[in-house]
Symmetry: C2
Subunit: 285 residues, 2 copies
C-alpha cells in the first residue's frame, strides 16, 4: 500500500543552483495529490515520471508566487493533453481570480475546474475519501497560509487468506470478520475473530508545514505524525532574516518536530543564498 | 561587438523530453533582450548564466501560455533581488491584466514596470535606441501574434588608429572623419576620408517568427536577414495538424527562409510528440 512523497522542488522564493520552488507529489494508496505548485512543476513531474493524469486534487498553502506560478502551465497542459476529469484546487482565498486571469485568452478548459477556499486560522477537515482525511494546519506567515495534514483512516483487520477456504467464507462473512466480528458457523460453533485475522495496518500520516515562522501552536496538531515536512528557509546564521520574513530555521523546524514527537522530519524551501545544503542537516539533527 | 542569441527553450505548448517552452535571450552590442518567456525561463537564464539584470526590454509574441507563463516568476525574482531599474514589456493587448492579476497579493513591485501594446497586423517600429531598431512582424496564428525584427543601425566608418596620432586628430575631427568627411589640415591640405578610415561593419539583423502558419507575406519583411528563427512545430508527417493549429512545418519554415534569402535559419517550438529532432533538420535542409 503506497505512501510515497516525491519532492519536486526544494528551493525558496528565487529558484537557484538547479533547485526548483516548492511542489510535492504525494501518493497515498491509490490517491494522488499535488501539494503546492511552484514554477516548473510540470517539468519536474515529467522528470520524476510521476503520473500527472492521476492528479485530481491540488492543495495550495498560500498565494506567494513560488508556491503557485506552476499552476497555469499545468492546467493548460492538462487541457492540451485532452483531460476531461474534474480537477479540484484547495487554497486560501484569491487564487481563482489569479488563475482565471491567466487562462485567458486560451479560453475555456475542456475539464471542470473547481476552486475550494480553505480556512487559514483553524485546523479543519477540507477533504475526505474512504481511505483518508486532509485537515488544514494554521501557519504564521506574511499572508494567510495553511499547511495540510494527510491521515489514513483506520484499516480493517486483515483476514488470514487460508481461513477463507477453510471455512468457505462468503463475501458478507468476510466483510464482517474484517470488521472484527467473530464467525458463527452453521453448526452454531463460534470462531473467535483473532483466529481468523491479524491486526490491521497502522494508519500513516503526513504533515506539510509550508512557509511559517516558529509556531509552537502546531505541536499538538502534529503529535505523532509519521512524516513531517517543515520549511527551513534559513540556518541559524540568518535567524534575524528568518524572523523578519516570517520563515523558520533548520533548528526551529527540528524543535517543532521533536516537541511533536514526529517520526521523521524532512526540510526544504531553502534560501538561494545557500549553495550547499549540508548546514541545514547539521542544524536539524 | 556582440550579437548573440541564446535559445532558452525550444519546445512547443507542452514541455517534454527535458525541453522548455519558448524563450530567447538576445544580446546585440551591449543591449540585452528577452524574446518570449515560457514557464521556467528564469531557471534557464540561470542555467545558461546569461545576465538577467541587464534585461530592460522583454518582447512577447502572443498571449498563449507557453510564451508567457515564465513572466510572473521572473518579475517576482527581479523584485526579490532588489531590482530598481525600469522594465519594459512589449506585447499584443491583454498582457497587463493577466500579469497584474498574478502580482497580487505580493503587492507592488519595487521597480517601474511599463507595458507597451504592439500592433499584430502591420510591421511597425516599436523600439529604437542609438544602435538598433525593433519592428513587429505580423504573423498568422490562432490569436493576435507578432514576430520581431531586430536590425542594427548603419555603423560609422572605422578610423585607422594610427591616423589619429599621425594627424593629431581632436575628438570633433574624429567624429567628422568617422561620419565620412575628408580631413582639412591647418595647412589647407585635404586628406581623403578613404586614407583615414576603412569601411563600416555591416549591420546585422535577427528575425523572430513565433507561432505562425505558412505565410509568404513575411518574405519581403525578412529579405536578406542574417539570422531567422522560424517556428516548426511539426514535420511533414503532421502537415494537417500544423494547418489545423496554424503552425508551420520544418519544410515550410525552410521555404520561407529560402524565398527571403536569409543567411541562416534556426528552428524551434517543437511538438512534444517528437522525442528526437533529427527529422526537423532533415526536412529543413
Amino acid at each position: 500500500m503506497e505512501f510515497t512523497l516525491t519532492i519536486l522542488g526544494v528551493n525558496g522564493a528565487v529558484p537557484a543552483h538547479g533547485r526548483f520552488p516548492t511542489a510535492q507529489y504525494l501518493q497515498i494508496q491509490n490517491h494522488h495529490f499535488l501539494v503546492d505548485c511552484g514554477e516548473g512543476t510540470q517539468m519536474r513531474i515529467s522528470d520524476f515520471g510521476v503520473p500527472r493524469n492521476k492528479l485530481n486534487h491540488i492543495f495550495i498553502s498560500h498565494l506567494h508566487g513560488d508556491h503557485i506560478f506552476g499552476l497555469p502551465g499545468l492546467l493548460f497542459s492538462f487541457a492540451l493533453n485532452g483531460r476531461s476529469t474534474p480537477l479540484h484546487i484547495y487554497s486560501p482565498e484569491g487564487l481563482e481570480a489569479m488563475i482565471t486571469a491567466q487562462l485567458m485568452p486560451g479560453g475555456k478548459l475542456p475539464y471542470p475546474l473547481a476552486f475550494h477556499v480553505i480556512p487559514t486560522d483553524t485546523s479543519e477537515l477540507i477533504y475526505e475519501n474512504k481511505d483518508l482525511t486532509v485537515h488544514t494546519l494554521p501557519l504564521s506567515h506574511r499572508i494567510p497560509t495553511s499547511g495540510f495534514l494527510f491521515r489514513e483512516k483506520p484499516f480493517e483487520r486483515n483476514i488470514i487468506p487460508e481461513k477463507i477456504q477453510e471455512f468457505g467464507l462468503s463475501i458478507p462473512q468476510i466483510i464482517r470478520v474484517k470488521n472484527g466480528e467473530d464467525l458463527v458457523l452453521e453448526s452454531g460453533k463460534t470462531i473467535k475473530n483473532e483466529q481468523l485475522t491479524f491486526p490491521p495496518f497502522q494508519p500513516r500520516s503526513y504533515a506539510f508545514v509550508s512557509d511559517s515562522e516558529y509556531n509552537e501552536n502546531l505541536v499538538p496538531l502534529l503529535a505523532d505524525v509519521d512524516l513531517l515536512y517543515h520549511e527551513t528557509t534559513y540556518c541559524k546564521d540568518s535567524e534575524d532574516k528568518a524572523a523578519a520574513t516570517r520563515h523558520s530555521t533548520a533548528e526551529q523546524a527540528a524543535t517543532i518536530a521533536k516537541l511533536a514527537a514526529v517520526k521523521t522530519l524532512v526540510t526544504g524551501h531553502y534560501s538561494s543564498r545557500y549553495t550547499e545544503l549540508d548546514l541545514f542537516l547539521q542544524e536539524a539533527i
